[in-house]
Symmetry: C2
Subunit: 504 residues, 2 copies
């Protein structure tokens, strides 16, 4: 599969005798990361070919493989970027360009005063204290319970936080992390690199990808019966790729489970701003607004732990890459620790210190995200408009995409409570499965490559995230600009219809 692409890359390069596939770290070879895997590389090759004037059945590649909103034209939030521009070139502060409002200048001044080296100096390894204080205030307000800036670590995106935590947790081959299936493949990839194991617990697609505690118990028992040592439970809420938001009562069960098993809860909450709570439900008018509110809003695991007076050990992650901020290229994020042994925390700090610190512009972006303009600030009106426009647009697009998917043959898509993705199930006909097998491909990968080659739409097969044996899915973002969304949906519909007919 795809051997022509590799062959092309190998042309004209000699094989070395030294380091080779047999003697490098085999854990790297075992790691898989489909979000940037062979289908995406094929998409990039199509793109290069188009740039060279070669003919394809489409005029551009639409990268729906990764939640990268600004690549697809999403505009950055003005306030955030003006602050950054001033931080990067502080000479502008005394004489700012006319469109820079007072609060932008004040914010940049404040951060510069509190990190004297500016964006060009290493900060302390945990990150700039002023920003960590802003994060602590944000968390405190969000959860109605005080947070401590010293328990917060600013990271190069949430990925680095997850990486550091898994590196702390996994020390032997039997060390095991419970992960959801489907999952974001950062988890399985990093666990493989750390040389540990994962125990999959399956989300229940029939019930809107809900998290069933019985299933969690089953997964834990099976792992323990195999001699594995449970170290942590990873939960992605809102779900990636599955888009569900966990209800409060379910979250209480989860923290109780972690306490019973005496394991750490890793809460990946990077989509906490991307909650379209009840929008689709409200459309279908099956429930009361209060029911919708209660079942579909985002609640942090931290809030649940505080409210339940639990001692559950928590590592939680957030990022500037998602939400309506969408600053993926900035690589900003944070990790918050709760109920973690202070000696262990020192070891976590040491891990961060070996990488020196996360990038400062990313840290500043975290500060802006958690402390945006307030009512009365000069930027406030513009900020709210930009924020709401973006948020409502994401909401509309998620709804439109889901409806469209559900109207395509052999395709069903659950409610999308949150995040940036649809993860529809595709019932592939036996002939399609046979055609895939003939090419040595997984059935869903076959579907995705055919989709890419005929429409230019680049999505990721469900097998890259994990799925119940015998079911097939793909993940697509709903990030193409609203003006192009209808055309993308049209192309996807036409392709799916043709594909299903062809192999019916």
């Amino acid at each position: 599969m795809l051997s022509w692409s590799r062959a092309q890359r190998l042309v004209g390069r000699s094989m070395s005798t030294g380091m080779n596939m047999k003697n490098i770290n085999q854990k790297v070879i075992n790691a898989e990361y489909a979000v940037r895997g062979p289908i995406v590389m094929r998409g990039m090759m199509h793109e290069e070919a188009l740039a060279k004037g070669e003919k394809r059945p489409f005029d551009k590649i639409i990268f729906c493989n990764v939640g990268n909103p600004q690549q697809l034209g999403q505009k950055p939030v003005t306030f955030f970027r003006q602050v950054l521009a001033l931080m990067d070139y502080p000479e502008l502060i005394d004489n700012p360009p006319p469109m820079f409002t007072k609060d932008v200048v004040a914010r940049a001044k404040n951060y510069l005063a509190r990190c004297p080296g500016g964006t060009g100096a290493y900060s302390e390894s945990k990150g700039i204290r002023a920003v960590r204080e802003d994060v602590a205030k944000f968390i405190s307000k969000r959860d109605g319970a005080e947070a401590d800036p010293d328990r917060i670590y600013l990271t190069d995106g949430a990925s680095q936080g997850v990486n550091v935590c898994l590196n702390i947790l996994i020390g032997s081959e039997q060390d095991t992390i419970l992960i959801p299936i489907p999952q974001y493949p950062l988890y399985t990839a990093t666990i493989a690199l750390c040389g540990g194991k994962y125990a999959p617990y399956y989300l229940n697609e029939e019930n809107g990808w809900s998290m069933d505690i019985v299933e969690l118990e089953r997964a834990a028992a099976e792992a323990k019966a195999n001699g594995q040592k449970l170290k942590a439970l990873a939960v992605i809420n809102p779900g990636n790729p599955t888009g569900q938001c966990l209800p409060y009562a379910n979250m209480v069960e989860v923290i109780q489970f972690c306490e019973r098993e005496d394991i750490v809860l890793m809460a990946d909450e990077v989509y906490q701003q991307n909650v379209y709570g009840g929008y689709c439900d409200a459309m279908s008018r099956h429930r009361t607004p209060a029911e919708v509110e209660a079942e579909h809003k985002f609640t942090s695991f931290r809030r649940v732990i505080k409210q339940e007076k639990s001692k559950c050990q928590l590592m939680s992650f957030h990022s500037v890459s998602k939400g309506v901020v969408g600053e993926c290229g900035r690589r900003g994020g944070y990790l918050e620790l709760m109920n973690i042994d202070p000696e262990v925390e020192e070891q976590i700090l040491k891990l961060f210190s070996i990488g020196l610190c996360s990038n400062i512009a990313g840290q500043i972006m975290v500060g802006c995200m958690v402390n945006p303009p307030k009512p009365g600030d000069a930027s406030y009106v513009q900020f709210v408009k930009e924020y709401d426009d973006m948020y409502n647009s994401l909401k509309r697009r998620s709804h439109k995409l889901r409806e469209a998917l559900n109207s395509m043959p052999n395709t069903t898509c659950t409610e999308i409570d949150g995040a940036l993705y649809a993860f529809p199930k595709i019932d592939l006909p036996p002939k399609a499965i046979a055609a895939a097998a003939e090419k040595g491909m997984k059935p869903d990968a076959f579907f995705c490559i055919e989709l890419l080659d005929s429409t230019g739409i680049c999505v990721v097969p469900g097998s890259g995230f994990g799925q119940k044996e015998g079911t097939y899915h793909f993940r697509t973002t709903f990030l193409p600009p609203e003006s192009e969304m209808d055309a993308v949906i049209e192309r996807l519909t036409v392709f799916t219809t043709k594909f299903m007919n062809k192999y019916a």
Copy 2:
């Protein structure tokens, strides 16, 4: 040692029953990273105390523990920062502030055209192609031999590049990396995290920290006799913390050694711009300018490999953190691969893809560093002035610090060819060693803590870098601003004199 500081951090926090020092990844506990270790934390606590109005024998902490020029007041280069400000807020491009020259605007426009998502979108995992092309041109010109943008990976600082490479190289406990002693502790720390071993080869202080091939052979033979498997040789050139530049003939021996052993050469060349080649020698007038030139200039390992038509496998690292750029907080850098098995390279790409991409502003800074304004560009005159002023100031400070160190009692410092550090030897009297032992401290750590507590100058003990048994050193940057350098040197001299007298 320093238990009061830890005790303070532990106050009021409960120990969890779950994750603790016994069941976390023991490799993390084994890793040591002194550049941000306990002495630096003590410095930060002094700083906090001063901020609260507490009395200390000094009015501020001078952090000479880490090469972080902008923290100590070094001004960023105008061109670089103006380009970044435009990239972060592209609305300024059509109506730029008056001090932004034409070439700044053109550069920002060019990069934005070639990475349409700007600084807020993920790039491909290797980094923006336009920047990698700039890097390839820079390398081609530097080495007089064509470089390939596809062999270049943009990284979050050089540290990430080193981390990825060590993760590829080390797959078992016996996998061994040859590292210089003294070394930059990123190497031993990361090797420990990867679960491999290192084999130390000692640099020869008596001969200006030269790299002796006989010593290298000894280290390799000893490791092999212990059943270890050699995977790579790490060389830091110009040296950190030792400041030497390797002569060409020596580099030829090094690549021949790597070919004989069939191991990878990891060339850490982040200080390639920080070469004060022959300045000190010229002062002492012992050599001809040609001799000085030949022995003290920077040559890349890549150039040597190309010139010698060698097949040596090379991983080389560069960074925007050092040089006269000094943009540490940006976390920008690159890794170049040469003669590496293409299949292995795919695995390296996969490792990068799991972290998605390095931060885009850091990538842009790499582009600016390798492709600064050219003669005729509107920014050129200012750029050259800023560059030369900074470079000459670093040169003067390195010279001044070295002279001062050599005039202090029991202190000797070799020639500083390059980098940002002095690594003087301190002959500690037996009574000082005994006093350290009484406090349960290493002798050089004792010296450094006493120095910090009485002067506020924060340096790192030689034991954090490794040193020949029975010798003691410390590493200090020469980055305090030129206006403060005399005062810093005065304080250091007074302290050292008192210390040596006290324990004589």
